[in-house]
Amino acid sequence: MGDPVVELRGLGVYFRLQQRSRMSIRKALLGGGLRRKAPMIWALRDVDLTCHEGEIVGVVGPNGAGKSTLCLVLSRILEPDEGTVQVRGHVSTLLSLGAGFNRELSGRANILLNAAFLGISRKEIARRMDAIVDFADLGEFIDQPIRFYSNGMRSRLGFAIATSLDPEILVLDEVLSVGDRAFRAKSQARMQELMARSRLIVIVSHATSFLRSVCTRCLWLERGRVRAFGEAGAVLDAYEAEMGGVDPAVDESEV
């Protein structure tokens, strides 16, 4: 096993119930709403995890298990409330395709904007522009405002931009299935390339067959805590047994 790339020790992240419904100005001014403490819910608690160079780690768990929160912490978007996070290397994320697009701008202008969000320099994106446009394969739509795009077209453009990176550590959250059948074949080939180039990949998915075929180890989260972490086959066997087997609809659509 290679050197540790990600080390989580005693990781905990909580949300307060009031954070889901923002207060009104009246409450903020008169009720001391900004200071009042509402009950907390731990999205992740006591999570210990070490991932090594060259690994592909799958993350499974039912809805609300803390999988997406884990992705946010690994991506350094969300800071933990307790415990430590050590990530050795630059993290690239594929958590939501097309996030940050401006509806009024053309596909080409949105490539520049989205690339800037991802931290790709203007010079670098100019070099990759033609490749991204070719991969997204949107024809004349590339110069139209993206408010005219379908959801699938938007995802294709988002996927083409996000996967044009050379990631060190790649965090994926259920974004493997993009576009029509032809584009999905192309996107899967691109994912394989990315996986081959990355030092560490963390994939959150409900598609257990897919995880079984690509992952070296799997993490099973349940109510924010680690239920199991180990060799992919063994963890997924136990997870499927508890969940009542593979969900064919999920495995068909997500891979």
Binding site: S24, I25, A28, L95, S96, A99, G100, G119, R122
Partner: protein
């Protein structure tokens, strides 16, 4: 990713792209496109000229009144649009904040810069109008660059705080619209600072003496007076006002950054 200066500098490409995108999309939404940048201040100027001079028969004390009033309207509009947008900023960018790590402070910064571009376009209209009304251009205009810099920092300060609290308080944007409207009339926008001094003197006593001083502690009152000195009166803003404006702006900017950074790590949980 924390909103620290090294991270902000590293993401200067993002600030530029966001600012340009905001300007392009505002122009795309407008029927007149880029021309609206020049038409908008002209219309504002004509409306207040029509109301104050045409309907109420006032403003002859400040001739040409369109130039006088636009000196105040332009910086005030910058503040007003920056604040009302800021309160919705984190909410409307929730998707990207939760998907890509970047210092979120670039969002309010770009919002302020996009508004500043409109301000500069308006300033060109103002200078052309001043020339058309025969106002002489002199060395007083050299005061414009430092005034513009202080305005940028001042608007950024209020905008940073509004951005943070906008994520926590759902109706802040509407509230700020009313606050800025009240603030507009509390600033020397439609009238001059001389009128405040004159009215205070009539009150007499300590109040009459202190009221103008208190009034001029408002940094926007000083800023507006500065633009008027530079363009309308062709004079120099008094040294004490430069000092007060600079110190207040520096303190507000430092405090606003601290507030933004304090809430920066917490605010994502509210989105």
């Amino acid at each position: 990713m924390d909103s620290t200066w090294p991270n902000i500098v590293a993401r200067r490409d993002l600030i530029r792209e966001l600012t340009l995108s905001e300007l392009r999309s505002r122009s795309a939404e407008s029927r007149f496109g880029w021309v609206w940048w020049l038409i908008d201040p002209l219309i504002m100027m004509l409306i207040y000229w029509g109301i104050v001079v045409g309907i109420f028969g006032r403003g002859d004390h400040y001739t040409p009144y369109p130039v006088f009033v636009l000196c105040a309207l332009l910086p005030w509009k910058h503040l007003q649009s920056a604040l009302t947008n800021a309160a919705k900023l984190l909410r409307s960018n929730e998707g990207v904040i939760k998907a890509i790590p970047f210092p979120t402070i670039v969002l309010p910064m770009s919002n302020v810069l996009a508004g500043f571009a409109y301000f500069v376009a308006g300033l060109v209209v103002l200078l052309v109008a001043a020339a058309a009304f025969g106002l002489p251009f002199g060395p007083a205009l050299l005061q414009l660059p430092p005034l513009m810099l202080l305005q940028l920092l001042l608007v950024s300060s209020f905008s940073l705080v509004a951005t943070s609290f906008g994520a926590l308080i759902r109706d802040l944007s509407g509230f700020l619209t009313h606050v800025t409207r009240v603030g507009f009339y509390a600033c020397p926008a439609l009238y001059g600072v001389d009128l405040v001094r004159e009215r205070a003197a009539k009150l007499g006593g300590a109040l009459g003496e202190w009221l103008p001083t208190l009034y001029m502690l408002n940094p926007f009152a000083i800023l507006i007076e500065g633009y008027r000195q530079a363009i309308f009166y062709g004079g120099l803003l008094e040294g004490r006002y430069w000092l007060v404006l600079s110190v207040e702006t520096a303190l507000l900017f430092a405090a606003a950054q601290r507030i933004y950074r304090y809430y920066d790590r917490r605010v994502i949980k509210f989105l």
